[in-house]
Symmetry: C2
Subunit: 249 residues, 2 copies
């Protein structure tokens, strides 16, 4: 048997535009899906404003209770981009020009275009490791277990490939979904029994509406496929008894 | 001059399905937009798993540092719906059948349909105040400054109307957006100057892609319209100097 090594992470979304409701965050879902696929479980997400003290305090809490912390947002060229300077404070590091990042952006822009505004994006904590950005040049960076990514979803997505080798996950978290033409209250007590008999499997129950009809998706999650299989059989048994239809979704 | 009364709130999203990336949260944006419109500023959002200790500890932190806390998720009929029992623990209250909620659901369902699973949804903290649900019957509830809403976005939305009278906001937070055909680095230093001269206005800068073209939206936020107007004029001045095009968005 393989040993289950649990590796956890927190996601920290930095940005007033999410807190005001103006912008719909999608980075949480992107990062969480990707992290799960490489065996890292997201235990917590926080969304906080562009306020230095809040960023510093929150990062200090999260980096101690998680194997990894991923931040999004606040690494652009404007006055409200304060993630890099805040991370420098978190680790007591100098906030300075990263020479490697400078070279990358100097080569990326046309002569004369690497102006003062853009140069702000190469200021980082001393000795930060770069996270390359194949979309728009300006790299993200990491210090110890804190990885700082941009807020623009398409750019963030394009940077995950280059990040993969830097993250050591545990056992991948496997999942299996069973979608049913029923309502939660019909299966609640049977599902509780299955959960009680399978403590190691996380069983979620999620109502949905599809093509005007109600349904419930049951999601089984574990690092262990055979535990999921046992759970799945028990669920198929009670839905057969109850004559509940399984649906594709 | 009217006195600015700051009223703040935290949103607590409870649910493994968000943390796994399976489900994209949209309740944050819905709640934040609505809260802003009634003068409540969202200072923090947290997304946490369906674990009682985590729910209790997080609620105890958030309810002390915010005027209001809004939770979403975990009030359905299945074993993973533990918000109501957790809130009971937070306030040291009995977890019991709410008679008013019982009557509502008894009347809502056809005879014989108000089964054991559904009856779980009327278990609440002692003396909880109900939040009516015009969509699917089962009410949310509040205890002191903690308001518990469902996770299903359409149901949550339908409950906000009935909630409005229970929330006392401060000055509504006004905002004004200026969208420009430019990139952030072109305006970064001018925008920093405007921010430094207008400390009371929150100025955000957000790059966008629209119809294949890059742009930047500048968002000005304050409780005070005349402060926004001053800020706006200063921005219009520098974009005129720089010959930057204003675009509709």
């Amino acid at each position: 048997m393989t040993k289950n090594i649990k590796v956890n992470a927190a996601i920290l979304i930095i940005g007033n535009e999410i807190l005001s409701g103006r912008t719909q965050d999608t980075n949480t879902s992107t990062l969480a899906t990707w992290l799960n696929s490489i065996g890292v479980k997201v235990d917590e997400v926080r969304i906080i404003p562009d306020i230095e003290k809040t960023i510093v305090d929150t990062l200090n809490t999260l980096r101690k209770s998680n194997n990894y912390v991923f931040t999004t947002g606040g690494i652009g060229p404007t006055h409200d981009d304060i993630t890099a300077s805040s991370v420098s404070k978190v680790f007591g590091l100098k906030y300075e020009i990263n020479k490697e990042a400078f070279k990358i952006l100097e080569a990326y822009y046309k002569p004369g275009e690497f102006n003062e505004g853009r140069q702000k994006m190469v200021w980082m904590p001393e000795n930060a490791e770069l996270i390359l950005n194949p979309t728009s040049g300006a790299p993200g960076f990491s210090v110890e277990n804190v990885f700082c990514l941009p807020g623009v979803p398409s750019i963030l997505k394009s940077m995950l490939g280059g990040l993969k080798n830097k993250i050591v996950g545990g056992e991948p978290i496997l999942s299996h979904t069973i979608s049913l033409r029923t309502v939660e209250s019909e299966i609640a007590s049977s599902l509780t029994k299955v959960q009680n008999q399978n403590k190691d499997v996380e069983i979620g129950s999620y109502p949905f509406f599809q093509a005007g009809k109600l349904g419930v998706s049951i999601v089984l999650r574990s690092e262990n496929q055979s535990k999921i299989d046992v759970c799945n059989s028990q669920i198929l048994e009670f839905i057969k008894e109850k004559k509940i239809e399984v649906v594709n979704r």
